[in-house]
Symmetry: C2
Subunit: 310 residues, 2 copies
C-alpha cells in the first residue's frame, strides 16, 4: 500500500470533470480520508423542483448511476415526464430524466420539511451506498449569476437554456457574503493534508466554493481543466477568452496562484511548465484526460503521489 | 340524428365510473352541449405536487390516454420516478407514473404562478384535444375528510394509503362552506336541460359537488354506481354498509331523492324499481355496466333517451 492512502484529502468539485476525479480519489483513498465539497452555485429551482446539478453529477458518478456516455444524468434514463410536460406546453428546455426527477422531488420535499441540503445529501449518499463524505459547499442559497453582453443571467439560463452563447463579462455569486460553509466543511478542511481542486471550471465551479470557505491554509493542488487551450467539457475556455485571457493551463495556474502549492497539467501543455514554476508553484505533468473509467483512479494516483512529494 | 343531441347536459363525475360515462356522453353529444363538472374533494398535495385524481381520470379518459386495464392512470405508463423515490426512502405509497407526474408538475407550476385550477384544466384539455368543457367543481381548496373508527383521515390517506380499511363513520368537506363553483359551473347549470350524476360514489364524489353548487333547479338523472349491492370499483358499497345502510340502487336513489327526477338502475336491480318509483322518481332499467369501451356510448345513449322522455 502506498503511504499516500493515509493522506486526508478534501476535493473541491463542480460537475462532470470534477466528478470523474472525485470518483478516482474515491477508488484510491479509504472513504474516511476523502471529503468532496461540491459547488452549489449552479443550483436552481425549476418546475417547482430544487435541482443541484453538480451535487447530482458527483453523487451519480460515485454511485455508478451516471450515464457513461454523457458523464452527467442517469444511466438507463427515460424521459416520459419531461416529454409530457412539453406536450402540455410547459418548460422543457432543461431535460430532466424520469429517474433524475425522483432525486429532485425527494430533495425538494425534504427541504420543505426543513432539512438542510447537507443532511439530505448525506441521506441520499447512504441510500446510494456512497462511502466518502460528499458535502454541498453550503446549506445557504448561493446563486451564480453570469454578467453577459445580454445582461445578467442566472447560471442555468446561461448554461443550458442559452447554451453559453451570450458573451461573458463577469460573475457574481448572489448570497455568498452571508453563506456559511455546510456543516463538516470547515472540520474537513482543518484536518486535511491537502485540498485538491478537481478539473472543474475555475470561474463558476471552484471560485464559488473558495468564496464560501473564504480562506485556505493548507496545501492546495489544482488539476487543470484546460488541456491544449480547450476544456474537455463546459465553457471554461470560452469564458477565459471572453474575459480577455488566453485560455490555457497557465491561465488556470495564474487564476489560483495566491493559494496554489502544486499544479497538475497535461502532457500537451508541457510548454507552460516553466512559466507555472515561475509562479512559485510545483508542477506535475501527466496525462490528465479521463476518457476511460480506469483513467480516473490513475489520475487520482498521480495527484496523490504528487501531493505526497510536496 | 336523435333529437336528444340537442340536449344541453351537465354531468357530475368522480373517478373511473364517472369518467367512463362522461366519455360516453362526449362520444354522443356535440361538445358544446356537454359540460363535465368534476369532484376535487379528493385533491391533495403529495411530494410537493398538487394532484387531482378525479380531474385527471376524467381528462385522461376523454383524451384516450387512460390505461384501459385499470381505467385510471396513463396507458403505456412507466414508473421510474416513483421507484427511485422509493430507493431514496421517500413516500411511494401513492404510485405516480412518469407520464402522470408531468401533469402534476405542470399543474403545480401553473398554480404557483397564480392560475386558477379551472384555467389550467382548460389549457390541459386544449393540449390533450378534449372538446367538451371539463370544469373542476371549484377553484378553492375543498378537502374530503373521512371520519373513521381510526379518527379523521384525509381522503387519499384513507383511500390509497389505508386501502379503505378503516370503518367509515361520516364525511366532512373541509373548505366547502366558503368554496364557490368554478367559473362556468353556474352558467352551465343555468343553461342545462338536465344534470346527469355519473355512476360515481355518492358520498365522496357527487356529494362534494352538490355541496359546492348548493342548489339545483333542473332535471336530475342519476346513474346508480351500485349494481347487485356492489360497486364496480371503489368503496361506495362498503361506505353504505358501515354507515348502517344496505348498499343498493335503492339506497342511492334515496340518497338523492330530494333532487332526483330520474334514476338509471341496472337490470340486476329491477326488483328495486317499484320502491324507487314510489319515491316519485322516474326509472330506467338498463345494462349499466361499462366493461367494454362501446358500453360507454351505449349507456350514454340510453341515459339521453331517458332524459328526452322525462
Amino acid at each position: 500500500m502506498s503511504p499516500y492512502i493515509n493522506l486526508k484529502i478534501v476535493a473541491f468539485a463542480g460537475g462532470v470533470g470534477g466528478a470523474k476525479l472525485a470518483q478516482g480519489l474515491a477508488q484510491t483513498l479509504p472513504p474516511e480520508n476523502l471529503t468532496i465539497v461540491v459547488n452549489t452555485g449552479d443550483d436552481f429551482e425549476h418546475l417547482g423542483l430544487y435541482i443541484c446539478p453538480d451535487l447530482d453529477t458527483v453523487c451519480y458518478t460515485l454511485a455508478g448511476l451516471a450515464n457513461p456516455e454523457t458523464g452527467w444524468g442517469r444511466v438507463g434514463e427515460t424521459w416520459n415526464t419531461i416529454s409530457n410536460v412539453e406536450k402540455l406546453g410547459g418548460p422543457a428546455w432543461f431535460r430532466l430524466g424520469d429517474q433524475d426527477i425522483a432525486t429532485h422531488l425527494e430533495r425538494t420535499r425534504r427541504l420543505k420539511d426543513g432539512k438542510p441540503l447537507s443532511q439530505i445529501t448525506k441521506e441520499f449518499c447512504e441510500a446510494w451506498d456512497i462511502k466518502p463524505s460528499v458535502l454541498p459547499m453550503t446549506d445557504s442559497p448561493v446563486r451564480t449569476m453570469v454578467d453577459s453582453d445580454e445582461g445578467e443571467l442566472a447560471f442555468q439560463e446561461y448554461f443550458v437554456h442559452r447554451r453559453c452563447e451570450p458573451r461573458v463579462k463577469g460573475f457574481r455569486f448572489d448570497g455568498v457574503e452571508v453563506a456559511e460553509p455546510a456543516p463538516g466543511v470547515r472540520e474537513a478542511l482543518a484536518s486535511a493534508d491537502a485540498i485538491v481542486f478537481c478539473p472543474s471550471n475555475p470561474w463558476v465551479s471552484i471560485d464559488p466554493i473558495l468564496k464560501v470557505v473564504r480562506e485556505i491554509k493548507k496545501t492546495v493542488v489544482a488539476v487543470s481543466p484546460i488541456i491544449g487551450g480547450k476544456t474537455v467539457k463546459g465553457p471554461a475556455a470560452k469564458m477565459y477568452s471572453e474575459l480577455g485571457i488566453e485560455p490555457s493551463a497557465l491561465a488556470v495556474a495564474r487564476h489560483y496562484r495566491t493559494i496554489l502549492t502544486g499544479f497538475v497539467l497535461d502532457n500537451a501543455d508541457v510548454n507552460f511548465e516553466k512559466q507555472i514554476k515561475d509562479l512559485d508553484v510545483k508542477t506535475l505533468v501527466t496525462d490528465t484526460l479521463m476518457n476511460q473509467p480506469t483513467d480516473r483512479a490513475r489520475l487520482a494516483n498521480d495527484v496523490l503521489h504528487f501531493i505526497g512529494s510536496l
